[in-house]
Structures are given as structure tokens and as C-alpha cells.
């Protein structure tokens, strides 16, 4: 091995050792960086504010649209219960319970009473509550009594009578009734 080669080898070893020494340096500073912590804190507060503001606007929008009401806010004061018993119509007014729901009692032709609880969870896309029951003859299967319930928001107009179909209560979300 000539002198030049030996010098190259020494340089090589020296450079590698220096790189290794540099790579093995540990962090001697604090475990936290106050500037980043402050940045994160600021962002968290900002996100919270955004969420709160979004929540307020959503709440306002919900009230304006007369939409779903959850969390104890009462939207409907009274309910109009429109009954259709074998083609004979009658309308009854029912006061809403403090939680915004209403328990509607329907006298059945054959005796007894059917009860149906309606509330904000029954709000349809148009902001009105619709629910209904159908009393069927157990022998023939024919509908003997049809009850349609529609909610009237405070100050709202009386909704048109729209009889419910038997499967309107599926999934707890009544579908738009078929036009007459």
C-alpha cells in the first residue's frame, strides 16, 4: 500500500468516525418547545371557537327551519290530531308534553284506546310531524280506522289532511304520504 492509499484510508476512517460522532449526538435541550405548545394551544382554542360558532349557527338554522329538536328544546306546543274513521273525519287538539312530545289517544271502534307518542323525531323533511296508525280488521285485514297526526308549529298554519299509509312508521321516520 502506497502513502497516497494510506492517506485516503485515514481520511475515510476519520470522516466516517466524525459522521458517526455527529449522528450519535443526543438532544441536550428541553423536552418541550414553548413556541410550538403555544401554537398548538392557540389552534385548539381556535378550533373550539369554530366548533362553538358552527354549533350556534346550526342551532339557529335548526330553529329557523323548524327542524329537528333534540336536547330538551320544545318546538311544538300543540298537535292537531286528524282522525279518519271509515271516511268520517274529526279533528282534536292535543297539548304537547313539556319535553315536546305528545301522547295522542285514539278511541277504537271496537272498544279500548290506542296510544301513539309523537315528537320531534317524527319531523319530516318539510319540518312537519306526521304519524299515523291504522286499525285493521283481524279477519279481513281491511283498514277500519285510519288516524293521521300532524303537528302545528307555534303560529303555523294548519296542515292539510294527508292520510298515512301502513308502512309510514317504518324506521321511526314517516315517509311522505301518497297524494290523494
Amino acid at each position: 500500500m502506497n502513502q497516497a492509499s494510506r492517506n485516503d484510508d485515514r481520511t475515510s476512517t476519520h470522516a466516517d468516525a466524525s459522521l458517526q460522532a455527529l449522528a450519535s449526538l443526543d438532544w441536550p435541550g428541553p423536552e418541550r418547545n414553548r413556541r410550538i405548545e403555544e401554537f398548538l394551544m392557540h389552534n385548539q382554542q381556535k378550533a373550539t371557537h369554530h366548533r362553538a360558532r358552527a354549533g350556534i349557527w346550526l342551532g339557529v338554522a335548526a330553529v329557523l327551519l323548524g327542524g329537528a329538536v333534540y336536547g330538551g328544546v320544545r318546538l311544538y306546543d300543540r298537535y292537531l290530531v286528524k282522525m279518519n274513521v271509515n271516511g268520517k273525519e274529526s279533528v282534536h287538539e292535543v297539548e304537547a308534553l313539556p319535553d315536546g312530545n305528545a301522547l295522542v289517544e285514539v278511541p277504537l271502534e271496537g272498544g279500548g284506546t290506542a296510544r301513539i307518542l309523537v315528537g320531534p323525531e317524527n319531523v319530516g323533511e318539510d319540518g312537519r310531524i306526521r304519524a299515523g296508525i291504522i286499525v285493521q280488521d283481524s279477519g279481513t285485514g281491511e283498514a277500519t280506522q285510519t288516524v293521521t297526526i300532524e303537528a302545528i308549529p307555534p303560529g303555523g298554519a294548519t296542515p292539510a289532511q294527508q292520510p298515512a299509509k301502513p308502512d309510514d312508521k317504518k324506521d321511526g321516520q314517516p315517509k311522505e304520504p301518497a297524494p290523494n
Binding site: T11, A15, S18, L19, A21, L40
Partner: protein, 196 residues
């Protein structure tokens, strides 16, 4: 909400690695607290890497502060591209350190011209001459070689991780790393040769 956060925190402590980071990154788009977890997991690693690059704790802290906030802002890109947070942070830190070294070099030249050259280095935490010589040699490297050498050697990333962080092929990483080491050797050889 706070109950949920503390529960999540407990779960996080039981897991580790890039897969866990990926979950945090996915959440961090909407929840700054998830990014806080990323910060706490990786701050030391990033700061140590920047310290190796700069030899200065204050500079490393400053550069870390330039690394995490942009990473947080680009967390959606991080999530979309599927690059592990650790690699993303080191890549960002590499860029920040390179910018710093260029500025530091300009500042050093200005201060040298004022005939009081040692004053600019008074705040240095690590004044080991040998390490300073290696750092100087690294900073003289062309950027593409410097990035590979720093991530591969100083940050301790594997060849494939370095390739992922830089968006190049592993073969490119290997050849650039070898070339960078060769340039360092020559640079140090000339430095020591010149000094003797």
C-alpha cells in the same frame, strides 16, 4: 368531549409506530389535539436531528418551531399521500435546516468582515471543532446529496424511509449517500491537509 380525549390518550400510550401516527394524522385534520400527540411523540427526535445539523440548541428549537406548525397545516396532504408523520417532519426539518445554514453562512461572513469572528459563535452549544468541520462539510454539499446524507445518517432513517421521505427511489438514495460520503471525505481530507 374531554372524557373521550383522555380515553384516546390512554390507548395511544399503548401503541407506537407509523401505523399509530397514521391514525393521529387522520384525526389531526379536524382535531388539533391529535396533532399535539404527534408533536409530543416526535419533538425530541426532530429537535435532536436539528441539533446535529446546527450544533446549537437555540437554533434547533427555532427550527423545530418552523417545522411543526407547517406540518400541522399540511396534515391533510400528509394523510392523503400516506407519508408517515415522522418522515414528513424530518423532511420539513431538513429544508428548514438548509435554509438556516444558508442564512447562518451569510451572517457568519458579515460578522467575519467586522473582524470579531468569534462573537457569532458564542451562543453555540456544541463547539467541538471536529464536529463543526463535519457540519461545515455537510452544509457545503449540493442540496440533493445533503438531504440524503442527513436523513440517512444524522436522522437515522433507513434507505427505504429516506426514499419515501424524499420521494426518490432507493437506488437513488444509495448512490447519493455513497457520493455524499465521498464528498465529505474529500472535504475533510482537504481541510485537515490544509491545516497541517
Amino acid at each position: 368531549m374531554s372524557v373521550q380525549a383522555s380515553m384516546v390518550g390512554d390507548v395511544f400510550d399503548l401503541t407506537s409506530g407509523d401505523a399509530h401516527d397514521a391514525q393521529l394524522v387522520a384525526r389531526a385534520s379536524d382535531d388539533p389535539r391529535a396533532f399535539e400527540q404527534i408533536y409530543r411523540r416526535h419533538y425530541r427526535m426532530v429537535a435532536a436531528y436539528l441539533y446535529r445539523r446546527t450544533g446549537d440548541t437555540h437554533a434547533a428549537e427555532d427550527l423545530a418551531a418552523e417545522t411543526f406548525p407547517p406540518a400541522m397545516k399540511s396534515v391533510r396532504s400528509m394523510h392523503a399521500r400516506g407519508v408517515p408523520a415522522r418522515l414528513w417532519l424530518l423532511r420539513t426539518a431538513t429544508n428548514a435546516a438548509s435554509r438556516w445554514s444558508r442564512t447562518a453562512a451569510r451572517r457568519a461572513r458579515r460578522e467575519t468582515a467586522r473582524a470579531r469572528p468569534d462573537e457569532s459563535r458564542d451562543h453555540r452549544s456544541d463547539r467541538n471543532e471536529e464536529l463543526e468541520a463535519v457540519r461545515a462539510a455537510i452544509e457545503r454539499l449540493p442540496e440533493r446529496f445533503k438531504a440524503v446524507l442527513c436523513l440517512n445518517t444524522l436522522a437515522g432513517l433507513s434507505t427505504s424511509e429516506t426514499a419515501t421521505a424524499l420521494g426518490v427511489r432507493e437506488g437513488t438514495v444509495k448512490s447519493r449517500a455513497a457520493r455524499a460520503r465521498e464528498m465529505i471525505r474529500r472535504s475533510l481530507g482537504q481541510t485537515t491537509g490544509g491545516a497541517r
